[in-house]
Structure formats: C-alpha cells, structure tokens
C-alpha cells in the first residue's frame, strides 16, 4: 500500500513503513523529479511559475503563492495515498516543510480523504517513542489484514 507520511520527510516513519513492505510516499520522491532534470529553468530547484498554478487544485487563488507552490509538490502525494500516518508537533521547522499553513492544509486533505489514518504526537520521552513505534507497527499490520 502507498502510505502518506507527515512530516513528509520523516526518517522514522518512512523506515518503519518500508520495513513492513509498504511504500512510503516521502517528499524526497517528488523533490527528485524537480532537481535532476537537466533543463532547470529556475535554479537551484525547478520550481517555476507553473507550480502555484498546479497548486490551485488544492488551494484557492487568494492563498499565498508559497503555499500553492508547496501544495503542487505535496498534493500528488496526498492524491496517491491509500493510508496515512500523521505525526503532530514534530520538529520540522526547517527547509521546505517549514510552512505551517501548508502543513495544516496537507493534514486537512489527508483527513478529508477517508482513508485509514493514524494520528500521533511526536514523542518527548523514551516510553512515548517505544509506544509510538509499536502503535505504528500495529497500524501497519492492520492494513495488511484489511488488504489481504
């Protein structure tokens, strides 16, 4: 199954999903498409004026172009998802996932999709971290059972 993760660049979530034989819809897969193209129109990334236009599918015209541009990358991942794991309060304030409004919008779309969703809080202690891993593994095992 294709599983969307949030934060979309999380190592722990992506790794646990792959250990169970599923595909993690990580942000890096979409970013790769933008950065290895030999014809880069807008260095350093191939984010052009086309992206905010593509983002209109997910956000209204009055939404800032930064949010729409990010949604042009996050959106296709959300569309593909068969299930999702959302980890809230994660320390992701760096790089391209540092936009709080895009993060809220992405989580809203995932919740609206009516797919199996597991919502967690970023662990702050050892016990919470162990509990989180066990919860994720139980959720992933449940998906396998549903899927046959």
């Amino acid at each position: 199954m294709k599983i969307a993760i949030f934060p979309p660049n999380s190592l722990i979530l992506a790794d646990l999903i792959e250990r169970k034989g599923h595909e993690a819809l990580a942000l890096q897969k979409e970013i790769r498409k933008k950065v290895i193209d030999p014809e880069i129109d807008s260095p350093p990334f191939n984010i052009t004026e086309e992206e905010p236009i593509k983002g209109l599918k997910y956000a209204a015209i009055e939404v800032p172009s930064g949010v729409r541009g990010r949604m042009a990358i996050f959106g296709p991942l959300i569309d593909e998802a068969d299930a999702a794991i959302i980890m809230e309060e994660a320390p992701y304030g760096f790089g391209c996932v540092g936009c709080a409004r895009t993060n809220e919008l992405s989580m809203y779309y995932l919740r609206k999709k009516k797919i199996p969703i597991l919502e967690l809080q970023y662990p702050t202690s050892r016990e919470e971290a162990i509990e989180m891993v066990n919860t994720i593994n139980t959720f992933l095992d449940g998906l396998e059972e549903k899927n046959g």
Partner: protein, 143 residues
C-alpha cells in the same frame, strides 16, 4: 529528462546510536556488494546512488548487516550535489537538522523493534451533539 537520470535514486543509510558497525565499515561492506552504485561516506552512515532496482537490492542487503540499527531514507538530491553538499554551502544542509532530531529517537526505535509489543489503537469517536451543546453553554456562561 534523460532516461538514465530518471530511474536513478539516492538513499541515505543511517546508523543508529547502538550500531555494531561504523560508517567506514559500512562503506567497505557496501563496496564488497560489488553493485554498480555511487557510494559516499558521511558522518551518519552513507549515501548510495544508482538505478532504482540496484539501490533497492543494496538496501535489503545492507539492512541485514544490523537489522535494528540501520535505517534508510530516500533523498531527492544526488550525493555531493553542490546545491546541498555541506562542503560547498559552508553550513549544515537543511535536512540535517531534522535528521539530527530524529537520530535522538533511533535508539528507542531499535528497542521497540527488538521487543515488539501489541498495542490497542483507539479509534477517535465523534463528539455527540449534546456534549457539544454543553461545552458551548459552559463557554457562554464563563464569558
């Protein structure tokens, strides 16, 4: 996009804090797999780059070296890309900060993977209208 480029992927191999091997040993072991890969040694482990099926095969073999202490993650940029490489930027690359935070949890992840426990996941239930009305009335009375 050229065909050779489009099917090439990059993977980060991250060693957990309790790993039985270090990054130079890891790189040696990856070299010994004799797969057509670009390998880069890093402070957290290694980066491998190559055709998607070769990278997938390599990741499976690398995991077997220390299943609970080796973690992998996709990377968008190829190894040593001047747009991301620390050597050119003069500071930590953006993704490093998140990796640094998640690295702190990897030992707990290892512990949970070694001793798995069945947990019960409670499904979130919808609030009934009466409870919502009660909360609204309470809030109004507070004001």
């Amino acid at each position: 996009m050229s065909k050779e480029k489009s099917d090439e992927v990059t993977r980060m191999i991250i060693l957990g804090p309790s790993a039985q091997i270090n990054s130079s040993e890891l790189v040696q072991k990856i070299h010994m797999l004799e797969l057509p890969l670009t390998i880069k040694s890093t402070c957290y482990g290694a980066i491998i780059h190559g055709k998607e099926n070769v990278v997938k095969d390599a990741v499976e073999k690398i995991r077997k070296l220390d299943p609970y202490n080796i973690f992998t993650k996709d990377r968008g940029f190829p190894p040593g890309d001047p747009r991301r490489c620390r050597a050119k930027r003069g500071a930590a690359r953006e993704g490093f900060h998140q990796l640094e935070k998640e690295f702190e949890l990897l030992d707990c992840v290892r512990e949970a993977l070694e001793k798995p426990r069945e947990v019960h996941i409670e499904k979130p239930i919808k609030i009934d209208p009466d409870s919502l009305k009660k909360i609204i009335t309470e809030c109004e009375n507070e004001d």
